[in-house]
């Protein structure tokens, strides 16, 4: 008798698994979220631009006229060519070339790839750390909860950029100052991951504290599911909305942080430049009149961040029933 009741209860409170069921496309098209998306032209534009940036990054090697970091393809003869539409522009170099004869547009496409990779990986890492710690803190409670939340409090006092710089410096001093470009990318992801986990942990913990007293959790406990399963399969899906909002906004923050670290010269090296590295390189030519070397990477970075931020703003409003 009770066997028949308990699973049904668990199912009622459990997450909507609509995305796996047939017809999810139609359900998504009829959802509130999609409706509010269609209503806002600015959001659609932002989504389009963001998508464009991701596609450009993925297909960088196809779109670029040269691989800007293969020295064999560079010719010093072609250095410092201004953009195509100016008087001295030359044909394949739409946005001009830099000091070493690199095509600025190609460098931006390859740099975009690095910036987005670090941003996405950083968000994934910080999200994972934050969600796990938030779930544990909220679900287990007690001393573990206070320990995790005290650490979060202390870390929240300090801006993320400072923590990222410190993590960066410490990792470099442990492994030596001469890290290759790939490991530097890893260091940046770790630095960003450790700088941004707090917000996820706090949000998830808050939701867990509300959810864990509901009947479906009690039911899941009653049928003897282990705590990790309950946390991940039952509680987490009900706390995921705010996490998505934070993740979107944090993607922009992670990209800014990476660009800032690279601009400060403690991020990605010149051999594997992100947008931030390109801006740092271009900044050196500002005074000699070659404005295009810094202007276009800067513009790309600003446009990318602005569109992601607009998407994040929209998601926050769309997922918050109070603001509707």
């Amino acid at each position: 008798m009770s066997d028949a009741v308990v699973p049904r209860k668990a199912e009622a409170g459990a997450p909507r698994t609509g995305f796996q069921q047939p017809g999810w496309l139609r359900r998504a098209a009829a959802s509130d979220l999609f409706y509010s998306f269609r209503r806002s032209k600015l959001t659609m534009l932002a989504a389009f631009v963001t998508l464009l940036f991701f596609l450009a990054a993925i297909f960088a090697s196809v779109l670029a006229v040269q691989n800007p970091f293969d020295p064999a393809q560079l010719q010093l003869m072609n250095s410092r060519i201004p953009p195509l539409w100016t008087a001295d522009g030359q044909s394949p170099y739409l946005l001009g070339t830099d000091e070493q004869g690199r095509d600025v547009l190609s460098a931006i496409l390859y740099g975009l790839r690095i910036s987005l990779a670090v941003g996405v990986l950083g968000v994934l890492l910080s999200g994972t750390i934050g969600i796990v710690l938030g779930l544990v803190a909220g679900y287990v409670g007690g001393a573990i909860d206070s320990l995790i939340m005290r650490i979060a409090d202390v870390q929240l006092t300090f801006p993320a950029i400072l923590i990222a710089l410190l993590v960066n410096g410490v990792v470099k001093s442990v492994f030596g100052n001469r890290l290759d470009a790939m490991s530097m990318l890893g260091v940046l992801v770790i630095a960003i991951g450790l700088s941004f986990w707090v917000q996820y942990a706090r949000t998830v913990r808050g939701s867990v504290l509300v959810e864990k007293n509901k009947d479906y959790v009690a039911a899941a406990q009653l049928i003897g599911l282990p705590a990790p399963v309950i946390m991940l399969r039952h509680v987490l899906p009900n706390a995921i909305g705010p996490v998505l909002v934070i993740a979107t906004i944090n993607l922009a923050l992670a990209i800014i942080t990476e660009a800032t670290l690279s601009f400060l010269g403690v991020g990605l090296p010149d051999t594997m430049p992100s947008l931030g590295t390109l801006i740092r390189i271009g900044n050196n030519y500002l005074f000699s009149g070659e404005w295009w070397i810094v202007a276009f990477p800067g513009f790309a970075l600003a446009a990318l961040i602005l569109s992601i931020n607009l998407l994040g703003d929209w998601l926050r409003e769309a997922l918050n029933p109070k603001l509707r």
Partner: protein, 326 residues
């Protein structure tokens, strides 16, 4: 009230101890301090002597307490790059950073409040919409891009302002100031704008939101019914009530202004603590990194504590509900 202040003070000390542990572990365990101080051809015996002299053979707890006692007296050891006491290096650069951060915060407060009030009172005016758009851009643009943009515009194209450095400074005791010379003031303009823009947008949005909320309350309606002039209502009654949260946020943000000055100082080659810190990270100069962390933490924690105390003084409602949730 006293119990609350006491509890907050103990919490603040707790944070400082945690930061001290982090700083000490960075100094002690991230790389070997001895290797950083000697050259390649130093003999093993000499290394052992230095190791002993630095007390690196003592138990870790003894080392930690010694580090902590030294740090409390602002002795942070010797910089690996400059071979000078870190405390001297920091003290030399502290005035530049504090002057910049203070100017940026003042700028952010003045313009943030003015623009916020304007966009709250005339929500549909063109100017308010322009401010709104600028604030979105201000939040989206990374600090260093704003700096580069300003340099290009005002230093390269127009040639009005210097693009780097502090200009001429005047020495008053151990403090150096750029506020008393024309070149110093000119050099201060662009870095202050760059550093203050983010805070300005934050304050502007906050003032706007708070004003809109306050203008809807009953006592404003009552003030209108009493026939007070709109000016008296807006500025005497409404604005005054929005200022409490604004001052709190501005105070709490002062810490991040100092942290973000790392970026601004690098863009403008401003000779402050932030530039020193970035160079330390580039060259893995752990003593400077650890000391900077301690200094900035001390500033942060002190400001947080002061703001908390001021808050209870200013807002009597908080005194009854003193057990604030974390």
């Amino acid at each position: 009230m006293l119990a609350f202040i006491l509890r907050r003070a103990i919490q603040a000390i707790g944070v400082m101890v945690v930061v001290g542990v982090v700083a000490f572990s960075m100094f002690r365990f991230a790389g070997d301090p001895v290797n950083q101080m000697v050259s390649i051809d130093t003999s093993a015996a000499e290394r052992a002597r230095i190791r002993d002299q630095l007390g690196l053979n003592d138990p870790v707890l003894v080392q930690f307490s010694r580090y902590f006692v030294n740090a409390a007296q602002f002795k942070f050891g010797t910089s690996y790059q400059f071979r000078q006491p870190v405390a001297d290096l920091l003290a030399e650069r502290l005035p530049a950073t504090l002057e910049l951060a203070t100017c940026a915060t003042m700028l952010a407060m003045v313009f943030g409040i003015l623009l916020g009030v304007h966009s709250a009172l005339r929500r549909d005016s063109l100017l308010a919409k322009v401010f709104q758009a600028i604030s979105l851009v201000g939040i989206s643009l990374p600090t260093f891009l704003i700096g580069i943009l300003l340099i290009y515009l005002f230093a390269v194209v127009l040639g009005w302002l210097p693009s780097f450095g502090r200009g001429q400074v005047v020495r008053i005791g151990w403090w150096t100031t750029g506020l008393l010379t024309l070149s110093g003031l000119k050099a201060l303009i662009m870095p202050s704008i760059t550093l203050g823009l983010f805070q300005m947008t934050l304050i502007m949005r906050l003032v706007q939101a708070e004003m809109l909320e306050v203008l809807r309350t009953d006592y404003i309606r009552f003030a209108r019914a009493r026939g007070l002039t709109t000016r008296a209502i807006h500025f005497g009654h409404a604005l005054r009530n929005t200022l409490v949260p604004v001052i709190t946020v501005a105070g709490l943000q002062f810490g991040s202004v100092i942290a973000f000055s790392i970026i601004t100082e690098t863009v403008f080659q401003w000779p402050g603590m932030g530039l020193l810190f970035v160079q330390a990270v580039q060259n893995v100069d752990i003593p400077i990194m650890a000391a900077y962390l301690m200094m900035v933490s001390l500033i942060f924690v002190t400001i947080n504590l002061l703001v908390d105390i001021l808050y209870t003084v200013v807002d009597p409602r908080l005194r009854s509900t003193i057990s604030r949730p974390a």
